[in-house]
Symmetry: C2
Subunit: 306 residues, 2 copies
Amino acid sequence: MSAGLIGLDWGSTHLRAYLYGADGHALESRALPHGIRQLPAGGFPEAFSSAVRDWPALPVLACGMVGSRNGWQEVPYLDTPTGVERLAQHLTRIAAPDGHALYLVPGLHDTHRPDVMRGEETQIAGVLAREPATTRLLLPGTHSKWVRLRDGIVTDFATVMTGELYGLLRQHSILGAALPEARDDADAFRRGVAAARGSGPAGALSLLFSARALMLDGVLDPAAVPDYLSGLLIGEELRMALAAGWADADDAIPMVGEGPLCDRYRRAADTFGLRLARAPDGTTADGLWRIAAAAGLVPAPATITS
Amino acid sequence: MSAGLIGLDWGSTHLRAYLYGADGHALESRALPHGIRQLPAGGFPEAFSSAVRDWPALPVLACGMVGSRNGWQEVPYLDTPTGVERLAQHLTRIAAPDGHALYLVPGLHDTHRPDVMRGEETQIAGVLAREPATTRLLLPGTHSKWVRLRDGIVTDFATVMTGELYGLLRQHSILGAALPEARDDADAFRRGVAAARGSGPAGALSLLFSARALMLDGVLDPAAVPDYLSGLLIGEELRMALAAGWADADDAIPMVGEGPLCDRYRRAADTFGLRLARAPDGTTADGLWRIAAAAGLVPAPATITS
């Protein structure tokens, strides 16, 4: 057993590498542009070598789309309910350059809807490393994930394509076409959130066109349309989460994501009387270490306390 | 007062021209590719001249995006409630080539949501010309419209961007990317409709990602993903319409649109226990004549009986 680890957070558009010390804290990290859709000429092996160059010959644990059908090697999803221990028992080991042992973390599959995640299971493990009693979790983003847990086990989850829908409407739809450069407009965002909240069981999908009508009315400045749409879509996600029981007003739900995006969700949640609180940074790095520890690749306490 | 009329159905991507006889039936029609986004070098006047070439110097009535901000001349929307008589009182006359008198039909603005339509008000007038007692109406399409009427007056309406969302997801999203050529799959369509119906108050927006999960599961053939998405989105539109009171299971709702699309809506409606029945073709041509009659541009009975 070695005294350290290399972790790779390897998604569609990014590759981040972490060199851990024996205590589970990242000593060094690197960001490379070699997501699995943007590989260098030498493909996965070359991207891998760039990521770990000059680092010791430690075991390497990787999560994310690198284990998908279009990745280095497909690692089957594990059905829910699944926790960290079960993830650790199903790592796939593949041959990697420079004598490294490379292990891939499987994604999760929820048979209820059905739904899938790949990469987020490791972020969840990172949250659990600090807060083992977590029962709800939100990971906002291109494909937002709402997660329910029991005793550290993911029981079910739902993906909402809020970020991708926003991008589609902004770049390709009649609502976003020919707009001037967007400017931040907190009032327009709030108006969109409120419209989604007021849509009731009908939902806010039928309100998208109001972005155009409000602009034609002169109520919404064209430069504020993107923030109105952002509010409408994030509001619709929260409306759905409350209607489907992914969230309720009694609990504060931890949130893992980029700061400005989490801030938008937090502001929208205020309108719904819902409490979302951003979890500490570094969940993917923490989760890789946590899973490596459960797999016996490194010695580590089960909970990160710092 | 002349004994006939020329009607123009002038949208973003199409221009259709009708030459009517004195009895309100189209003697001849033409389809030109000169929607307002695809004008010839000579702009609106040249497109107009092409559309009416060799026809008598009759008054011309035009509806659709030709009266929008990006059209030949902007014609302000009329607020609901508005019926045919009020539309006819607010035609805008503009100078047109070749000695023609050209009148533009205003669109409608619903202050409730807010919402707008331009072109559909004339289709509605066409439906009313045959069925004056119509109280509900669905115009499915890129921007579907659900309409409520009282005594032939449009009281309110809602736009659902179902067709545009389908196109965005199909062409630009992760769900539609890299799919093989689509094939018709009635089972996949039905599965999508059923999923939307089963989504309850949460709505089907949170189920979009299931298209990907079902494909990864091998349940959905990649070539059937478009029909699943079509079912999911049309089903969501119907779920919304029922939740918001635009439709209920007691009435048969007439539907104005293209045959294959109306057939999809009819099949989806069966799953919801909702009755949608396609109205006769030619509603725009009928509506232009009906509005022209109300404006005194032509003599005509209020109801088309054939």
